[in-house]
Symmetry: C2
Subunit: 243 residues, 2 copies
């Protein structure tokens, strides 16, 4: 049983999602994983593939995407260090979406069979992972609303708010700003807009003093203002998940 700092952090996260006992904790700490580095742009899974591993992001950013028959892309989520991605690998046959690295990432890969066995032996761990999926689903719902019912500026502002909260959780920023290398093209594909219009809308947000962009850095001068004008409410992130 390695006492790996990565595992320790992961276990801490799991503990916020379900009550664990000592044997659960031990089982988690005993997890064998393989650490791998993926370059920016590399795929972890592609739509339609069978997966053999579940993956935990140790460092870096990633995103999930789907493609329309005529080549349009929709990004359906962004992921940061500490996020399980591709948990569905453990239980669903084929990937219904692709997972691509936004930046170079360090990834911990755990064989699907290991997760499956873990969950059978440790139902509370299963619960914790289920909660993870439930929260993911909640975020997807919010994205449907974002893309379906909010005007361009609000959509973008909302995404900036979500990222602030989630990066804070990962210890990578807070409501006053953060660093995240998302391209305007990627923002467009995440919000269902056009790169050109993203550009215009971001400019408008900046002129109104809602955000300040400095290269890869986003500064949020007035969190409450941004939150209000983007209709952001953190309820859907279920940050308070203390079982």
């Amino acid at each position: 049983m390695l006492d790996h700092p990565i595992l320790a952090r992961m276990v801490r996260k799991m503990e916020t999602r379900a009550k664990l006992d000592d044997s659960d904790r031990e089982a988690l700490h005993a997890l064998r994983f393989q650490e791998r580095v993926y370059e920016a742009g590399a795929y972890l899974v592609r739509e339609g593939e069978l997966r053999e591993h579940c993956a935990l992001i140790l460092e870096g950013f990633a995103y999930r995407q789907k493609h329309t028959i005529d080549g349009a892309r929709q990004i359906v989520s962004f992921h940061v260090a500490g996020d399980f991605v591709d948990l569905e690998g453990a239980l669903l046959r084929r990937a219904d979406h692709s997972l691509q690295m936004l930046t170079r990432c360090r990834i911990a890969e755990i064989p699907v069979a290991t997760i499956s066995a873990l969950v059978e032996a440790h139902p509370r761990v299963g619960k914790a992972l289920w909660v993870d999926t439930l929260i993911d689903a909640s975020i997807f719902r919010e994205w449907i609303m974002n893309v379906g019912r909010r005007p361009a500026r609000q959509r973008l502002a909302h995404l900036y708010c979500e990222l602030a909260k989630r990066l804070k959780l990962a210890g990578l920023g807070d409501e006053s700003g953060y660093r995240m290398p998302i391209t305007q093209d990627q923002l467009a594909d995440a919000t269902g807009l056009t790169p050109v219009h993203v550009n215009r809308s971001l400019k408008a947000l900046e002129i109104d003093g809602l955000i300040i962009r400095q290269g890869r850095l986003v500064v949020i001068p007035d969190w409450d203002l941004l939150r209000e004008c983007s209709d952001f409410s953190e309820l859907y992130l279920h940050l308070d998940q203390t079982a």
Copy 2:
């Protein structure tokens, strides 16, 4: 242990999602639930509420929705007989969306604590429920893409395709058509469009011979045609989930 036909059907569904043994099956059959009828338009849960029950639809249609601060509505999913709704109730504190009846529904309500205990005692049942949530999440992802990247007609056609497949699973129709009382207003809120534009787009679909509407009945004269032109691929429904 009641040998209720409803439970029998539910157990059959769970078995397609994870391998169960006799004790799992028994535990499921032993589930106590309360059957209630909700009128069309009634709420099962409202955004922000705490929930005490998980719910299974026995009969009727329902949908999940969220509201923008300025009153816009987004429907994020439709549900049919046999669907678990509000499974998140078992593990997440507050509802991040509302659940409203599309038609009068017969609902089986199971206390949250019961589900929670069931899952701890029967990890394979937990897995099955987790798979349920994973599939839900996959459907949400497809909806993000639908709303974000497909033009109006395709969006609607895609929704019709999804409903055909899911209603078939519930034994309520198939690829040649089905009965489902969705209003054009509701279609609009599900696709991120305007009722007026839904009306026009449906008319266009009908003129092109892709669908025929007769009151609450939808007839699909040529499934392959509709499927192709709506960019529908059933992969995301994970219908083949044989553990």
